[in-house]
Subunit: 219 residues, 2 copies
């Protein structure tokens, strides 16, 4: 391994360790000494790669941005073809993360957003970029299912709502240490999406074309 | 003022100051020295009332529990009669809080839930009790609007969903430092509630009584 390769792998190791620690313990509770120790490096080499803890945090958020597709989405997208079911598969992924970590974390970006958006203004755009990335992927699913949705359904708006539901549901699951609220939220979101799909032929049920055509079907 | 009264007022002052600081700065970032200073008391008297910082935190969460009705709900309930509109009035209240604090905080319980649910297991039940209290109030609104909702609509489940939406929406507003995602979430939630109300006479639109009766209205 060349010196350059070795440096890349050391840097990656630091980022990997920091990502995990920030997700589990929070940013404030994680010291650089612990990161260096768990990466089996001397603190001096850590400072060589990342002069400040915030530099390291920024690098972890850049990495998460890059890895969303390959690490989070692809394993689900490979397993599920239907774009709407992909969204619920993704929500199930966060549920698994909560279960695996015994509610230690569900969404690492959400945790950091609450902890840092006030105190670390320079980090905020990177948190927002991670949310944007996620929203873009889910909006793409809604776009692929557009023929089932009402014509005025806004894929971006729906995707933001899915993210908001997930983040709120993770918060309640972590507080209650059970899945009741999380599962309820997914059920309610599914009910909403199904109502959108049922009215997807056009106007809303009570007035106009949609209700009339459905009534003639049932009559 | 008797000695006993004076003690109550000192204790309340400490709780009030701590509530504000925990909400704005987080629990970890707030020191007892700062709380004593801002309450204009000596650190020694603080320890007299609250031997540990966690005792003080618990007292703030007990206080929030007690004040939900009078401080948060009543000002909105007094202004708005319609139970569904009360819910959206409440969501507007959190939006105002975000605006007033320049996104410094939206929901103090949500912040603390993310910060502390992992590290402070003894505090978790008090956070959950605050969520429960809120959910109970919103479920009561849905219950009062039951004649407009489908018969299988679960007021508790809907109320939990409103809380989840609010908490997720506050998180995104604080990260983006704007109201776009928050307002979108409220619009989407309202669309969902309106769809529930439109199908509230009975079964869901495409099949059965609901669609038929509505079609005969429009025909």
């Amino acid at each position: 391994m060349s010196h350059a390769d070795e440096n890349i792998s050391k840097r990656d190791r630091l980022i990997q360790v920091a990502m995990d620690l920030f997700a589990f313990q929070g940013y404030g509770n994680t010291g650089l000494a612990q990161i260096a120790r768990e990466a089996e490096m001397l603190p001096g080499s850590l400072y060589h790669f990342f002069p400040t803890k915030e530099d390291l945090l920024a690098a972890t958020l850049q990495t998460r941005l890059r890895l969303l597709q390959s690490e989070v989405l692809d394993p689900i997208w490979d397993r599920i073809d239907d774009p709407i079911e992909r969204i619920f598969g993704l929500l199930d992924g966060y549920r698994r993360m909560l279960a695996m970590t015994e509610f230690g974390h569900g969404c690492p970006i959400g945790n950091l957003a609450i902890e840092l958006s006030e105190t670390h203004p320079k980090i905020r755009p990177l948190l927002a970029a991670n949310f944007d990335n996620w929203i873009r992927a889910v909006a793409q699913c809604f776009r692929e299912a557009a023929d089932r949705l009402p014509p005025d359904a806004d894929p971006e708006q729906l995707a933001r709502f899915v993210l908001i539901t997930m983040e709120g549901a993770v918060m309640l699951a972590r507080t209650y240490r059970n899945f009741a609220a999380y599962d309820d939220a997914v059920t309610t979101l599914r009910d909403y999406v199904e109502r959108l799909i049922r009215s997807g032929t056009g106007d809303d049920p009570p007035r106009g074309r949609g209700a009339a055509s459905r009534a003639s079907e049932s009559g």
